[in-house]
């Protein structure tokens, strides 16, 4: 008869049998955390980012990039149903999950700055480095805020994108120098990223002599922005600048098309996602300027075979932040490789130090970081949504027409 005791004995025997097997394992499993806002208003952009990281991991395994190491992705979603977009509280939970799993040696993400602010202190205490492909709020790497975002001391928040300290002001320069805009109304979506970007834009715009006629905030969960848009119409600005992501962005683009025709409209990288085409769509999105805090490379002939590999694997076109996510993962894989080559154990601390000194050839060029974790090459690319009938209407590469690099402050 099967007693509780016999079951216990059998399981312990099995466990004993299983134990030696682990010693013979040829490969060490190294996990790379991936955190993006896969639920909610930015889900499609998040998928592109996540795919970029997954692709790099799978290619590293296929090519045996690091002998004796098998990489595994730990994909976490920081978007929640109740927030309808990214949720910092969920980001904190995800950060704890990564820190709790000792196989995780580094992470890619998060996608959003608001989440980054919640994750950074947890990652810092866990000594776990993360490389964000798209969160651009400057505070996260600013030594002024070291107490908040890296309380354990060493920088753990690296970026393969520039920050809003460039993205906002450089767009303001473009407004003043190229578009000759004289007056602007500024909106944000109350998020950490949106507010910071709008502030940075507004400060530089004022410095450049553009008259800032007003500033207001959009509730991303609200459906109706007609009241604030009517107010803007009355002030009659030449341009509108929006700092924020797509949950509010898509509704703003749709409603401002009706209420504010003829106004120059622009936003940051929060608008450069597929939802701009699939959610807002034409004709509403036509003419909107957006920026990316990274060089524009998805149309670069040199990386077209990568674009083809991405498309073949996921049946989606990558955007520039799929590139920065891929690049971030390459940096981590390179760091693990360098640690493994020294013969030392692949630990979080060792990988963090290796990332800090990285000099890795990636799709966007050679990536290296300054002492705070920021990427050293800071490029802001400007795009304008412009219907191109030769390509599908949701073609993320060709419906955003590349305008050029934004003038540096």
């Amino acid at each position: 008869m099967l007693t509780r005791r016999s079951v216990l004995l059998a399981t312990s025997a099995l466990a004993l049998l299983a134990l030696p097997g682990r010693g013979f394992a040829a490969e060490q499993v190294v996990k790379i955390g991936i955190d993006a806002s896969l639920t909610g208003g930015d889900a499609q952009s998040a998928l592109l980012v996540k795919n970029g990281a997954v692709l790099a991991i799978e290619e590293a395994n296929a090519n045996k990039a690091v002998p004796g190491v098998k990489f595994e992705a730990m994909v976490l979603d920081d978007g929640t149903a109740t927030a309808g977009q990214y949720d910092p509280a969920q980001g904190a939970i995800n950060a704890r999950k990564m820190v709790a799993d000792h196989a995780v040696v580094a992470a890619v993400g998060p996608q959003m700055s608001g989440v980054g602010k919640a994750m950074a202190p947890i990652l810092s205490w866990g000594d776990l480095a993360t490389i964000t492909p798209s969160s651009t709020n400057p505070d996260l790497t600013d030594p002024k805020f070291a107490q908040q975002y890296r309380p354990a001391g060493k920088p753990i928040y690296f970026r393969t994108v520039a920050t809003d300290a460039y993205q906002g002001p450089n767009m303001a320069n473009y407004f003043a120098d190229t578009l000759k805009v004289k007056s602007v109304f500024v909106l944000d979506d109350t998020g950490a990223y949106g507010e910071g970007l709008a502030n940075a834009f507004q400060a530089q715009a004022a410095k450049k002599g553009i008259k800032v006629l007003g500033r207001d905030k959009l509730d991303p969960k609200a459906a109706d922005y007609s009241a604030v848009l009517t107010k803007i119409k009355q002030l009659n600005p030449q341009a509108l600048y929006y700092g924020g992501v797509l949950q509010a962005g898509v509704k703003l683009v749709k409603q401002s098309y009706d209420i504010l025709p003829g106004v120059v409209k622009a936003g940051g990288d929060g608008l450069s996602g597929p939802e701009m085409l699939t959610g807002a769509g034409f004709p509403a999105a036509e003419g909107w300027y957006t920026t990316n805090a990274s060089p524009h490379v998805t149309e670069d002939p040199a990386i077209q075979d990568w674009v083809a590999r991405y498309k073949a694997k996921f049946n989606l076109l990558p955007d520039d932040y799929a590139v920065t996510a891929y690049d971030a993962t390459l940096v981590i894989i390179d760091a693990v490789k360098r640690v493994a080559a020294t013969g030392k154990p692949v630990t979080r601390a060792a990988v963090r130090d290796a990332i800090q000194t990285a000099k890795v050839k990636t799709l966007q060029g050679t990536v290296s970081f300054d002492a705070n974790g920021d990427i050293e090459d800071r490029v802001i690319a400007i795009f304008q949504v412009h219907k191109n009938d030769k390509y599908p209407l949701d073609d993320i590469i060709h419906q955003f027409r590349y305008v050029g690099v934004a003038p540096q402050a």
């Binding site: 889900a43 969960k221 109706d224 009241a227 009517t230 009355q234 749709k254 409603q255």
Partner: protein, 309 residues
Amino acid sequence: MTAADVYLQQAINGLSLGAMYALLALGFTLVYGILELINFAHFNVFMVGSFVGMWALEAFGVMPGGAQQAGLPLLGVLLAAFGITMLASGVLGVAIERIALRPLRNVRGPAAMITTIGVSYILFNVVLLALGADNKNYPNPLPAISFPIGGAVLRLREVLIWAVSLLLMGVLVWFVQFTRLGKAMRATAQDAEAARMMGVEVDRVIIAAFFLGSALAGAGGLMFGLYYNFTSYIIGFTAGLRAFTAAVLGGIGNVPGAMIGGLIIGLVEAWGGQLISASWADVIIFSILVLVLVFRPAGLLGRLTPNRA
């Protein structure tokens, strides 16, 4: 735009919002009037209604970004879409009552109200998991006709919202005032026990209240989609909370109160956004609610109290 134009435009904006809130508020008020139950599932019946409306329109060949229609075909499609949406939403409301609330009818305390919150989240998550989190583009057959009034613009979709809301509210008032079932509803609202003794089938009355309220919410959901050109699993909460506020502001359980409350909330949201800031909309709305309740605890028009004359 002159200042007068701006106020007119914001009134147009606010009345459109308010008409939608009013339709939703009626559902809270009908159910509360009869069961003294705040039905939070109503939030997401509205949301489901907007999806049903989307499918109904697509079933008639209207696609997102597709061609606009005019004349009789447009009228026919809209009538059919409203009919299907209201019927489906009404049935959903009745099903919620039958499955989740009737077993709790004689349970004292907040059990039933908590259950409605649970049902609300079930609807919310089912739609999220089944249909995904992204905003769905709404099929819209309405031609982009607009009428300039001075510097303000009145669009066809606003006219449509007002017309449909007025019509539905008119039908509801007529129903409650003059039909047998409507009279039974009022009798039950005044005193369920006495109504039962007089031969009113209270179960039928409750089913009618859920059906009517949910059908109106469904119509509101369809109008939401036509007005904003999108729908999403998340739209129920903001609209539902404002509509609930409208119902309380007007006097919960009171049908004209819900309509007036809805319009006031809509206008406050629009003018508040103009005069102060859009980001303060909720603060303004709820401050007004608190003020009204301090001075008139039963709401502007008062609870529907038993007429003991």
